[in-house]
């Protein structure tokens, strides 16, 4: 190995790169020698938590990943599901938490860019974006700046590329003071028989690099995303990449044109760990080798070392393996779109990755240990003891009902996020039929040129997961399924984004294991396979972990968008029918948190049979045109759902008070599997419910300009709207 450039490495340097002593020992054993600096860099990113899923892999296997519609499950850049007529929907959600906390604008922007690349790398045109954002307490000194930066970054990137942002969620909790969450989801459309994969099909094929030049930004980003933060984290700003949405737009068009030209054998974007992971994965998955001449890599800066080039996370770059002799066709396409491109190497039959720089071999590693033999940990865990159930009869009633309703509707989690989504282009591509402004439980875009539409949502209730990770995992899946159902869609598949603290701590590992098991059970019961996902661990600062947040992104299909449903279409004179049983579950509820500062208690149990039965019933009502508006019940229970329907539909609501001593559990309970439907024919809905063995009661009526419940509260719609709309601009401006 004398030909190898020989910067000395050591266990100490390996530790600096994020490798544990035993992992470094494993490298020594597998190589039979010390790795040089470049090789150590390659190992450290490939074996980082971010790239290898070494802590979560063993448990992710519990998730159901197959189904009638699944074309490609987890393991590729994005999941692929069949949506009929030879078309496929390609989607994934991914976190950009660590970079967004350090540098919110660029962190969030490049998160959006990265997830779009995952989707168009598969051959799909991105058609919609969603973002699940979780920030610290509004009173925390960093929160405002982070919100402003993240929202501007998402908008700045997505708006320019020209993909509508149609949905998402924005929440606040002090548990995210030290680690915000930015989870971005992208949905794309492709022809089902034209999906592209990353595995190199054989040796002696040209490897072409195209897109932006490689610079020194983002070096060791994947490693940074696999460690905890402390006071010195601001010093990590140089590990955050800088996004160029115009370059991304060019990259999308050039990539799709290149694919259509028939020149592409395999393709992979350069995301986390850049050139390293893309080349290792393409060759490793294909069972071949790869040789790269780093002098051919387009470089933004002079004098870059092999190490820097391999570890750079410069954005908007792709690696493709071409059919032999098609370099000229490819070159014409890159020229048209003004992209840098270069044939940087070829696949080989050696099973090794060999890198040359200035005529010298600077890295020569067998591929198998890098990907297939990455560490797999069965980390010790303790199953958390779920909180005890809160007896509804023991929950305090509000002293002032009117104030309580206004407080809930204006609390940071319930307040209108208009300030956020008005900064996102929600209409470009001219196929958006429901977005954050619409009053619909899901975003929705038409499948261009057809009557079909895709519905999409992202959901998680971290306070439930905190109280009981298993039930919280079930709930996140159930709520996503319910939101798609309320929009009139058939739920078809899930992408998950698991955000947790340090998995080396048994109690955090216990959250991970239990949440995955809860999600798995719900996905199985609801025929809702997981087709892609991302795991973000080490979301901790100074030993304080975030609330466990397994975000569920989900997609549904509507055969005819004229059958879509929302909650803004309630008419004066409609009767409100509550579908599903109410026991008054108030453990870990928004009501107790916001009014009494109590976050304890078991979350509402999720009865998956009831979810399925009630959801199928509601979808049937929608398809049969028996209802004028539908909303799922979640945070804040009946009162908040009814208030949102009233606001979106611009008509008052009178909720029927119940005669019990304490109406709070009925009004604010967060029991699952429930929907609020508005109808002109309540008798027909009740009769149909009875026949379907679904619990249903009349719970109110729509009319006038008051949001009220006799003897409890009466609020002018203008006051309710001011409370709901006022908080966010008041906080930000």
């Amino acid at each position: 190995m004398t030909a190898l450039a020989a910067e000395k490495t050591s266990a100490d340097l390996a530790a600096e790169f994020g490798l544990k002593p035993d992992e470094y020992a494993k490298i020594l054993a597998r190589l039979g020698r010390e790795p040089n600096l470049v090789e150590l860099g390659v190992f450290s990113v490939m074996w980082s938590e971010h790239c290898s899923y070494k802590s979560s892999r063993a448990h992710l296997r519990k998730l159901p990943v197959t189904g009638d519609r699944v074309i490609q499950g987890p393991g590729e850049n994005a999941g692929v599901v069949d949506i009929g007529d030879g078309q496929a929907c390609v989607f994934k959600m991914e976190s950009h938490n660590h970079p967004s906390f350090i540098e919110p604008y660029q962190g969030a922007a490049t998160g959006v860019g990265g997830i779009m690349r995952d989707v168009f790398t598969m051959g799909a045109r991105p058609v919609a974006l969603l973002n699940a954002l979780r920030f610290g307490d509004p009173s925390h000194p960093k929160t405002r700046r982070l919100v402003a930066g993240v929202v501007a970054g998402i908008g700045g990137y997505g708006n320019c590329v020209g993909v509508p942002t149609v949905g998402g969620e924005t929440q606040f909790h002090k548990g995210y003071d030290g680690n915000i969450l930015v989870n971005a989801m992208c949905v794309g459309l492709a022809d089902a028989d034209k999906i592209f994969y990353s595995a190199a099909p054989g040796p002696n094929l040209p490897v072409v690099y195209f897109g932006s030049k490689t610079g020194r930004d983002g070096i060791h980003g994947a490693t940074m995303a696999s460690t905890e933060f402390d006071e010195a984290s601001d010093a990590k700003r140089p590990t955050v990449q800088v996004g160029d949405p115009f370059a991304e737009k060019l990259l999308i068009e050039a990539t799709l044109e290149l694919m259509a030209s028939g020149a592409v054998e395999a393709i992979q974007d350069m995301g986390a760990a850049g050139l390293t992971s893309s080349s290792v994965e393409m060759a490793g998955k294909g069972g071949v080798g790869i040789e790269i001449d780093l002098d051919q890599v387009p470089q933004r800066e002079e004098g870059m070392s092999a190490y820097e080039m391999m570890l750079s996370e410069s954005q908007e770059r792709m690696l493709a393996i071409l059919k032999p002799g098609r370099e000229g066709d490819a070159h014409r396409i890159f020229e048209k779109w003004g992209l840098d491109a270069s044939v940087i190497g070829a696949t080989t039959s050696t099973g090794h990755i060999v890198l040359k720089h200035h005529g010298k071999v600077v890295c020569d590693l067998p591929l198998a240990p890098l990907s297939d033999d990455a560490p797999l940990y069965h980390r010790p865990y303790v199953r958390p003891q779920p909180d005890r159930r809160i007896d509804p009869g023991q929950v305090e009633a509000p002293k002032d009902w009117r104030a309580a309703v206004l407080k809930l509707m204006s609390c940071p989690d319930m307040a209108s996020k208009r300030w956020v989504w008005e900064q996102y282009d929600r209409h470009v591509m001219a196929d958006t039929v429901a977005d954050s402004s619409t009053g619909c439980d899901a975003g929705m875009v038409r499948v261009h040129g057809t009557k079909k539409a895709l519905a999409m949502t992202s959901d998680c209730t971290p306070r439930y997961v905190q109280a009981d990770p298993y039930m919280g995992g079930r709930q996140a899946v159930a709520e996503a399924w319910r939101n798609l159902t309320a929009a009139g869609a058939d739920p078809i598949a899930v992408t998950d984004n698991l955000n947790f603290g340090n998995p080396e701590r048994p109690e955090i590992m216990g959250q991970i294991v239990c949440a995955i098991e809860g999600m798995a059970d719900a996905c199985k019961a609801l025929d809702f396979p997981v087709v892609s996902g991302n795991v973000s661990l080490y979301n901790e600062t100074n030993g304080q972990a975030i609330p466990p947040t397994p975000t569920v992104g989900a997609v549904g299909l509507i055969p005819d968008y004229d059958l879509r449903m929302g909650y803004a279409s309630m008419q004066a004179g409609d009767v409100l029918v509550l579908i599903g049983e109410t026991h008054g579950e108030l453990g870990a509820s928004l009501y107790r948190r916001e009014l009494f500062g109590q976050e304890d208690g078991a979350p509402p149990p999720v009865d998956l049979d009831a979810e399925r039965r009630n959801g199928d019933f509601v979808r049937g009502l929608i398809r049969g045109r028996k209802v004028s508006a539908v909303h799922d019940l979640s945070d804040g229970g009946l009162v908040c759902a009814a208030a949102e329907m009233a606001l979106a539909s611009n008509v008052g609501v009178a909720l029927t008070a119940r005669s019990e001593h304490n109406a709070a559990p009925y009004m604010f309970g967060e029991d699952q599997a429930r929907y609020l439907v508005a109808t002109t024919d309540a008798d027909a809905v009740l009769a149909a419910a009875k026949a379907a063995h679904v619990h249903a009661i009349v719970c109110g009526e729509a009319y006038g300009d008051l949001f009220a419940s006799r003897e409890l509260f009466s609020i002018a719609m203008t006051d309710l709207r001011a409370a709901n709309e006022g908080w966010m601009p008041g906080f930000m401006n």
Partner: protein
């Protein structure tokens, strides 16, 4: 009748414009790459679409105003062909001095995406004739630099000559005198900040944009 949509590398409403024109008018639409120097023969309407033409890292539309196709667009406009610049297209027409004035950053310093109601202040133009008696239309806007400004005497002249075609009912971005759209003195070049190309079917929230494309193409008869 025929329309052409100019495609810059960063255009992202090019397809929207094509589909909107096709659905609203049934006319054929050619896509013209920014590096071309000629337009298709006998084109009746040229659309400069929304987006970020060359990234717009410089002033919005500044580079596009100097692109190869602009010579042909300018010549066609001089011949009287209808030219419609939407959003980034409006910015490009200002930068190319085919329309007076300039766009500043929105007054709120943020990108703003929302439906906006517009008063049709001149229904006599070749772009608005189909609105007839209709006084208010709803389009969707989405921009960060849509704050239209010009010298006061220029604004007086535009208003006096009937060149202000659309005004915001509730000004979202600080545009001078609530201006959302203007035509040139000849009346054949319209710059419009909100998007009729996102409002051509009811399920998009409004179909009011369809009449604008119908007007523009029927006027070519």
């Amino acid at each position: 009748m025929k329309a052409a949509v100019v495609v810059y590398p960063g255009s992202n409403c090019d397809r929207d414009c094509k589909v909107a024109v096709e659905r609203a008018t049934g006319s054929a639409v050619d896509m013209v790459w920014h590096q071309e120097t000629a337009l298709p023969d006998r084109v009746d309407l040229i659309v400069l679409p929304g987006g970020f033409s060359y990234g717009d890292y410089l002033r919005c539309g500044a580079m596009a105003a100097l692109s190869p196709i602009m010579g042909a667009v300018r010549a066609a406009a001089d011949r009287g062909v209808a030219v419609l610049g939407i959003c980034n297209g409006f910015q490009i027409l200002c930068e190319a001095h085919m329309l007076p004035g300039a766009m500043l950053r929105n007054a709120g310093l943020k990108y703003v995406c929302k439906p906006v109601d517009l008063d049709v202040t001149n229904a006599q133009t070749r772009f608005t004739a189909a609105y007839g008696g209709k006084r208010t239309v709803r389009f969707t806007q989405g921009n960060g630099d849509g704050n239209y400004q010009a010298r006061p005497d220029e604004l007086d002249r535009l208003e006096g000559e009937g060149q202000v075609v659309f005004r915001y009912v509730d000004n979202p971005n600080g545009s001078a005198r609530d201006i959302a759209g203007i035509v040139n003195a000849k009346g054949n070049v319209l710059g419009l900040m909100p998007h009729p190309d996102r409002a051509f079917e009811p399920e998009l929230g409004s179909a009011d944009g369809a009449d604008l494309f119908r007007s523009a193409l029927s006027s070519a008869l």
